[in-house]
Subunit: 282 residues, 4 copies
């Protein structure tokens, strides 16, 4: 389905510095097609394109050579891509059968200390045989217990905090889902994107679990339809897939994010109880 | 210089499971040459070789299909490789000039929460102009303040703990060094290897900082000569470069590690005050 | 009921120092009667008796003036004291009706960070109307989810750790119970004592919740009968009611603790499902 | 010296609840004299006076029986009281010589985890022989390294966080000072009061260390003269001496705090390098 996405951001550089942005819709993805995109930077700063370490995310790096205001405007039309995956009868993939490139998504990471959640995850979710249902149950638990509360957390908040403090924003919901999955030996990774119908409009974060050979999408916030996302990046957690990394004294000022539907009919999709259809963004 | 390295490990599998070991000397390294190596697994289990996500580390994955005892024996003769790098006049590499593959080593990770150490690192080490000297000063501070104390930490201990609790083992010393570097925008990564003259013999962990376009080695434990290491792996922290990852109920029993010198003359190297020669393992 | 209790402890002082022990059965308690007690210290060190800040616990302070071995032997015969309290129809005591001396047991403390468990406690246990049943449910949850595992925790472990890591010893079980109570505005405090039938014999820790104007006893370990305890001390948490506080380089060597029944018939008491009888040690 | 102090606070009760305020100038203090004081509560709610557990702090408890707005206004004229204490030649008081009521101020508490700062405190401040100079050095270090930054911390922030994150407000500065003292076996407690010349006007928090048989005042924020304080309360940390404890859904709205000098000449006092005169508020 076709979406128009937009991110307008302004910064003030007080010194020279470097700005790394991860706002481009993903290109080299089996399914998602960027039909057109424009990046405008005022004043002109050469934007070097970077591919991150696993060759997937599309970052730009701005060498800010002098103080001043910077306005960045990204507009794109994207055909997002997902497929439904039948999860009926799914059993856990043993570790010896996981692809090597998936293994790092079993490791604990900065915001997803799965090593500390081992007993909790087993006590709460260890008895379920179908791992898709396991992750659905985690998502239901997070949604029911963690309060979505802007300003209740910050950039240092991690899953170990959230599992007890039970408040946060999309980033925290995603980190907790990832940590619970990894604690049960289900590979999981962070997903950022543009999200259709997100109120208020913003970048969104959710997560993917590796199930039956696919990365299957989950969103414990339940704020948006699962089929209305335009993928920007994946990573181990927000440390890998931050929208912006700022080096030097560059202040963030304003942000305007938007995602509109540019196709004929949008039928919102959410997981339903007793349904075993997963959604995968390839 | 030539070393004989050895790792003999025994496990007892109570159930089927998977064992991933990272004990092979690194092959695909510009300098280090594995002259010969033998891996013996009793009883026979096919050992699948894995290269981890950045294509560097050489792991083996054992699909343990049934309960029982497992004995793993790795022996190799390795020509290790390092060079001295002149760090005189070194200045900080701005982020816009760092290679893309180095950028993830600026991110906080599970055991290296550099985001939480930002002010501390700037207050303690922010005034030094030559970043090699900065890292040397960090190493001196860690060595002087953190007590090497077996059993005082565990697999959950992180740099955020160690900077205050000030006790730990080589792993903790390395994590703290890495976190302090990243907090000052110096890329840093975890390094595991066989270490000549380590008493008692064991695997060793230290760290590398990216300085002047090289990964330069540092070891805040000062337990071993810096030129007597045989590289096994690098990673963001111990979550990436663990000697063993165990999935399923497989108990670790015993370990015998050894590293002997097989060349004519070994002249131990340590950093000296006022010297600006770094050592890099390529 | 009458019990013989015993604590034999040995220390080695490497320097002069101070040893504060909290091993005496409580005297100034409405019910418990110390029929006889003996304290023997070899070599002789004057043992100053201290009453702690709220005048309840009975501590001894030893001024260790020179290096050497110290053997402390405490023996007592105690008539312990408890009563059954009917909790049927109990409703929450509003804070304005709590006695002033109970209010500090609503505050978070070193090992019981109730402020961080507010949402969790409300989500898990907030819907129950009878606060005795609330605490019973907490105890059941702790017992079912936290694994009793010697050596899995240390003197720094707190309820915030245990609620997620879900392993520990009696001290950790007690801290978690206390923290959950306080998070729901139920005053709770730490309780140490000699415990009949504890295997292996040791000091025991559990907790009291202030319900219906009484301190009611709970023990999430379920290791001992609730009516076989000889009270030593209460406090906000283990920081207040430690068995021993050591100042100076005095090493703990050995400990022998014992509690035997010295009466005719002991009928062990435990809380049963659907029973609303609480047990209170005055 | 005479001060007029004032605290005007407004709350909105959404439900019935209890409000416990600790805003009264301390009465039962050897020196401080409350010349006159007025408490006005609109609408009228009976204000029960409480003395806290150690009989020192003067709290009021309001039983808010129904929803509505509440305005509390406290005005007092107070003769504060302090004395200078000569700290020259001071040596550490051994634990066996400390009064029993001082011992709890050696324990770790919710916000002052001195047990975790043991090695750090010894490494940084363990070599100084005069304990007054030790605490002065701690205060200098905190002042030089911790950034006073409103909004950078919250009610869950503790000394273990602040020692590394190095930002906070007066409460965090006090907690860190207390934790460092206790880690070196110097009893220390939290102090709240009205503070002359504090900009912007607010309640203030600092700390006292028990030195030479006196509670000696320290303030690592250096925001106010040390002789311009009107004592409200002391406690183990902010959990004991909070300005307000709210039970039930009562929202805090506004606060106006003031402290003006009502005497002839005010000569501000601060500790000076090389001076060994401490200030004690009895």
């Amino acid at each position: 389905m076709k979406f128009n996405v937009q991110a307008d951001m302004t910064y003030t550089a007080n010194t020279a510095g470097t700005l790394i942005l991860n706002i481009h819709a993903l290109h080299n993805n089996a399914g998602q097609a960027v039909l057109q995109e424009h990046l405008n930077i005022q004043p002109y700063i050469p934007a070097e394109q970077l591919l991150n370490v696993n060759g997937e995310n599309h970052l730009i790096r701005l060498n800010v050579e002098e103080p001043g205001n910077i306005a960045i405007s990204y507009h794109a039309t994207v055909f997002n891509a997902w497929k439904m995956v039948d999860m009926d009868g799914l059993v856990e993939t043993p570790v010896h059968a996981l692809p090597a490139e998936v293994l790092p998504y079993l490791h604990p990471s900065r915001y997803c200390q799965s090593d500390k959640l081992f007993r909790l995850a087993h006590n709460m979710f260890g008895e379920i045989s179908n791992p898709f249902v396991t992750v659905l149950n985690m998502v239901e638990w997070i949604h029911a217990n963690v309060q979505y509360l802007s300003g209740s957390t910050n950039s240092e908040t991690s899953a170990f905090d959230t599992v007890t403090e039970q408040s946060g924003v999309c980033r925290d919901f995603a980190h907790l889902g990832i940590a619970l999955c990894r604690a049960l030996t289900i590979p999981a990774r962070y997903f950022t994107g543009y999200a259709y119908k997100l109120q208020p409009a913003d970048f969104h974060a959710c997560f993917e679990a590796y199930l039956g050979g696919q990365w299957v999408l989950f969103d414990a916030t339940k704020l948006v339809p699962l089929n209305g996302l335009v993928k920007i990046a994946t990573g181990r957690d927000a440390a890998d897939a931050a929208i912006a990394n700022i080096f030097g004294e560059i202040d963030f000022n304003t942000m305007l994010v938007n995602c509109t539907f540019a196709d004929e009919v949008f039928i919102p999709f959410q997981y339903a109880p007793n349904s075993l259809q997963g959604i995968s963004y390839f």
